[in-house]
């Protein structure tokens, strides 16, 4: 063999190595190391269409492929976006736009579902809802304990519990619940954080939290800015429950808690465990569990009763 004859082989070997390093390979790839949860709901989680705790997966599937393995799906835009699931289609309802949205571990994805790989333990939540007010509800609480356990993109993220009173009872309840799930956490006072890769849970009364954080400011600006369909009054002592159009359905007074999440561009989600007063924060901290939060975009707690947000016709403002 001439000295030059080896060049093509070396080139092929280099290409193969580059492809292998880039996540390429033959076949479907290795199966995820933990079950993938798949939920399909309508109207902001008000109605269940499908709930599979251990969805069918084959190898290194994408979010779209997992959905197609477990439901009847019609797609558009070259198979990247979902048009209908089990016959429920996007389009218009009562003159308002409705479509399917995908939340992976509680975060709205910014890519087509065909471009996102699933990882062991991920929770995939498809919801069909009215997006006339905003299509941009970037973070939801209904996949709890995600994103705290498995993070994003198969990478676990640092978690920090930031409290108005780090030694207070509600702060301890929230921290203990996360530690019980095996999540290593940091605790601190609330601060304007520049840490983009940290998942933060802010605990405390809204009056003490207001103005101290960019995400808290977004919640005060309303659902278009934050994706949270609830608004505290100027004094922070009452919470307005909003419907999908942004209209106030009812107002909750003292002892009201709120668990909600929002997400700014290029940052990880920020969760709020807050309320109109200490009693409200305490009831929100108690409600921080999988059963209460499942399939909720956000949750208000009034007299220890859950109020799903946004309020929808089917579920009503007081429905659980």
């Amino acid at each position: 063999m001439s000295p030059r004859a080896g060049h093509p082989l070396r080139l092929i070997a280099a290409i193969c190595a580059a492809l292998a390093l880039g996540g390429c390979g033959i076949g479907a790839g290795a199966d995820p190391d933990a079950p993938i949860g798949l939920s399909v709901t309508r109207d902001f989680g008000a109605r269940d269409a499908l709930d599979i705790p251990d969805a069918k997966v084959s190898g290194a599937d994408t979010v779209m492929r997992v959905l197609r393995r477990n439901a009847t799906v019609k797609t558009r835009f070259g198979g990247e976006f979902v048009q209908s699931i089990n016959g429920i289609a996007g389009g218009r309802r009562d003159g308002r736009p409705v479509d399917w949205f995908i939340y992976v571990n509680g975060s709205l994805t910014d890519q087509g579902a065909g471009a996102i790989d699933v990882h062991g333990g991920d929770r995939l939540w498809w919801d069909h809802h009215d997006w006339g007010l905003t299509p941009d509800i970037r973070a939801v609480v209904g996949s709890y304990p995600e994103p705290f356990v498995h993070g994003e993109g198969g990478k676990r993220l640092p978690v920090r519990v930031e409290c108005v009173d780090p030694k207070g009872a509600s702060c301890k309840v929230v921290a203990d619940k996360l530690i019980a799930l095996g999540i290593p956490i940091g605790r601190s006072n609330i601060s304007r954080s520049a840490a983009d890769e940290t998942l933060r849970i802010l605990v405390g009364p809204w009056t003490a939290m207001r103005g101290r954080d960019a995400e808290a400011d977004a919640v005060d600006r309303g659902p278009k800015a934050s994706g949270v369909f609830a608004r505290f009054d100027k004094a922070g002592t009452a919470l307005s429950v909003l419907d999908e159009r942004g209209a106030t359905v009812r107002t909750l007074g003292a002892r009201t808690g709120l668990i909600a999440a929002t997400r700014a561009e290029q940052r990880q989600p920020v969760w709020f465990v807050t309320g109109t007063d200490d009693a409200g924060v305490a009831s929100a901290a108690r409600a921080l569990d999988e059963g209460a939060l499942s399939d909720r975009f956000a949750l208000a707690i009034s007299d220890d009763l859950p109020v799903a947000l946004p309020a929808t016709g089917d579920r009503g403002a007081g429905g659980g």
């Binding site: 492809l19 996540g23 390979g25 033959i26 797609t75 087509g112």
Partner: protein, 296 residues
């Protein structure tokens, strides 16, 4: 351009009917994605070409069509990853995004390639070999004489330019400094000379037509010809064309010969599909059974 009048029932049919027959075969190809139905239409096209004595032309067209079909078959799995059976993970590839080659994508690519090949064979080879372009254009003259004349001249000009190119290439080889095999630059020179010659020829043709009075109103009407009665072959192939279109449309309406490409390949392969396949072949080839009066 490949047309030679042969002793076959299809050649005996009038040009418009033969063209309609080829178009019906193309319609049948485009109507189906089911491989059983497509294979049947393929058999029909192949059978028609062989029975019309155009097998060689079909083979030549296939030499060009097969690589084209292979390219389509290979591109499809790269532009869609809707299938569920992943064969190859290519990772993120720049603007194409995340790319997985799936069995379903490959299968549907093969179907699309087969359809493209059959369209080339039916609309290119079979139509070109069995339809007298001049006769067909004479029919169009009733609708628009200028368009028909332009089309007829264009069709005639292609072989003329081909001969020009061969003559120029021969002349080039006679030069003392000529290479035995012309390179890209020499080929380009010939193409440039032929293209320039084409413009000259077009001007000559225009002048000749004007001298012959084609621009006058009387010529625009064209000479009056007696209408020829329809022959048995005209009737047979027209019925066959109508039958093929009816079978394709009927199958679509009845939901026969279904094919789901994604997320998993599902091919309908029941008795209905096999009956449809047999009917397609029978309806397409039955007119060839009558070989009376095929010589002109």
């Amino acid at each position: 351009m490949f047309y030679v009048r042969r002793a076959s029932p299809l050649h005996a049919a009038r040009a418009s009917v033969a063209a309609a027959y080829a178009v019906a075969l193309v319609t049948a190809v485009l109507a189906f994605e089911n491989p059983i139905a497509l294979a049947a239409v393929g058999v029909a096209i192949l059978g028609a070409a062989l029975l019309a004595g155009a097998g060689r032309i079909l083979l030549r067209a296939a030499l060009y069509g097969v690589p084209f079909a292979i390219v389509i078959a290979l591109i499809n799995p790269l532009v869609t990853d809707e299938g569920l059976t992943v064969l190859l993970r290519l990772g993120d590839i720049g603007p194409l995004g995340k790319l997985d080659v799936t069995l379903e994508g490959l299968t549907f690519g093969a179907i699309l390639g087969l359809r493209a090949l059959l369209v080339v064979l039916a609309s290119g080879a079979l139509l070109g070999a069995t339809v007298d372009a001049d006769e067909l254009l004479r029919g169009f003259r009733r609708i628009s004489v200028r368009s028909a004349l332009t089309a007829a001249l264009a069709v005639r000009l292609v072989p003329v330019l081909g001969r020009d190119a061969r003559r120029l290439a021969d002349a080039r080889r006679c030069r003392p400094d000529a290479t035995p095999k012309p390179g890209a630059a020499e080929r380009l020179q010939i193409v440039r000379a032929v293209a320039t010659g084409a413009l000259d020829r077009a001007l000559d043709v225009a002048a000749t037509l004007e001298v012959r009075g084609y621009a006058t109103a009387a010529a625009a009407g064209g000479p009056r010809r007696l209408r020829e009665p329809w022959s048995r072959h005209d009737h047979a192939f027209a019925a066959s064309a109508a039958g093929l279109v009816a079978l394709a449309g009927g199958a679509r309406l009845l939901g026969l010969a279904g094919y789901d490409a994604y997320p998993r390949t599902v091919v309908a392969a029941g008795p209905g599909e096999w009956l449809l396949a047999a009917a397609l072949v029978l309806v397409a080839l039955l007119p060839f059974a009558d070989r009376r009066g095929i010589e002109r």
